[in-house]
Symmetry: C2
Subunit: 253 residues, 2 copies
């Protein structure tokens, strides 16, 4: 079982959109996928038609009152199971703050699901707190969506600094890759920024890129993955290409 | 002196873009403006050409080792002074957590600047922690940028719930208004979502709307407000209209 964390402390770069559609595209190619919504705002859940709830979730699992399998919702999208984002996630920071092994909680609980899934996708919140740290610790690969803006470029450098600190503090060293999102060949800023990112000296860029299209917002609005709602669209091709690329990198199936 | 908080726990909806350009547009009409970057990622500062630093900032002010005036940078944009976002802001949550009056720290410190500025604009991070709570407590008006997506609609309801809790807990009751951002008349989803928001039963929508345009990303990339970089562009008109509308609501000047 391989684990992919979708991480970026910058808000609104497309972490949730990537987590949802990568999960659905992997599942369409026969891979058994668990999507874990690690944001108390519950957007991965919402974008697949499952509203945020006060049902038990990761918080209750970390607290020890539920096991991880019992909070899984089956088939929120064909072939995709979901651990929903719950309001109680907001209290995880506090719960784990003084615990020994606080960065390893997610990894330990995921180990119990090894036989059930080929791939786990983790959707992280816009912060580098304990939830994102747990995701990075559990991950075989961390995918960092970037949008064509100054803030995204700056965010990458900050993320790399944080990852260096995490390595020193917790021994965390996931493989990292950037993913170009909201890619628009017609605007010069987009071409310029992604060209600069291609030449980054310590971080690679996925070959697959996700184009800027209102279809992604429409799909979320209807609670479906775009590879399900608009199977033959160009952006569905983008996500299938991403799924194949990540599948090869992680040796899935 | 009036205080405007730009708040929304959803990431990437345009809080920073609004804070920067509203500040610059107000200043262009002769209003003395202080922009306070309340995000440890320091994007309001970055978008005006002032990189995030480890210089003293709000954290040191709340800690008592600096007064607010001493951390102000003058004229980062014509007529706009800035309290820069600093890495140390990340520690404010922890610093204030157990203090009495933890929601009022910002309001107290801002009071000392009453004679120097007509308007203070607060750029909040994508979370409803103590920094956003302090901003809401200090604010005469809270502006909530919304983008045309399901997540934005859901975010609004969550924000309203939180504001109700804050009122019970701290007596916070700012006037609230939404601002349509990334407005695109050509896409049906955008028209549909903003039409739904116009009819919200407890929250109004500003008359001014900010259109979806790459110019805003270009301006941030060049460290300038768009009303300075592209004075006669349509989106500069949008921000000047917003500045006039907010100026009237708050009786500025
Ligand atoms: N390639 C794209 N083209 C058009 N819209 C997109 C694209 N990717 C994401 N979006 C839209 O941009 C908005 C932000 O995306 P999303 O919520 O996935 O980002 P996020 O990084 O998860 O945000 P947060 O930091 O709040 O968790 C959403 O409305 C989404 O539908
Ligand atoms: N009206 C618009 N048209 C086009 N791009 C926009 C618009 N508003 C904001 N953007 C761009 O969208 C991205 C996100 O905007 P911004 O950083 O202002 O959001 P934010 O709410 O402050 O994010 P965070 O939650 O991370 O603080 C930026 O790259 C910005 O330049
Ligand atoms: Mg998200
Ligand atoms: Mg911001």
């Amino acid at each position: 079982m391989k684990v992919v964390a979708i991480v970026n402390q910058k808000g609104g770069v497309g972490k949730t959109t990537t987590a949802i559609n990568l999960s659905a595209a992997l599942a369409q190619s026969g891979i058994r996928v668990l999507l874990v919504d690690m944001d108390s705002q519950g957007h991965a859940s919402l974008g697949l038609g499952t509203p945020v709830s006060d049902l038990p979730g990761l918080y209750e699992v970390f607290k020890g009152s539920k096991n991880l399998r019992s909070v899984v919702r089956k088939d929120v999208s064909p072939g995709v199971d979901l651990v929903p984002g719950t309001i109680s996630l907001a209290a995880v920071e506090h719960l784990l703050a003084n615990r020994k092994g606080r960065a390893h909680a997610l990894r330990r609980h995921l180990a119990g699901l090894r036989k059930l899934y080929d791939c786990v996708v983790l959707d992280c919140p816009p912060a580098l707190g304990l939830l994102s740290v747990n995701a990075l610790r559990a991950a075989d690969l961390a995918v960092v969506p970037v949008e064509p803006s100054l803030y995204a470029l700056d965010g990458i450098e900050r993320l790399l600094e944080t990852i260096t600190l995490l390595e020193a503090q917790y021994g965390i060293k996931p493989r990292l890759t950037m993913l170009a999102n909201m890619y628009d060949t017609r605007t010069r800023l987009s071409r310029e920024i992604f060209k600069a990112l291609e030449q980054h000296d310590s971080l690679g860029l996925c070959k697959a890129r996700i184009r800027n299209t209102v279809r992604l917002r429409e799909a979320a609005y209807r609670g479906m993955a775009v590879v399900e709602m608009a199977r033959s669209s160009k952006v569905a091709d983008d996500f299938r290409a991403l799924a194949r690329e990540i599948g090869r990198r992680l040796d899935l199936q």
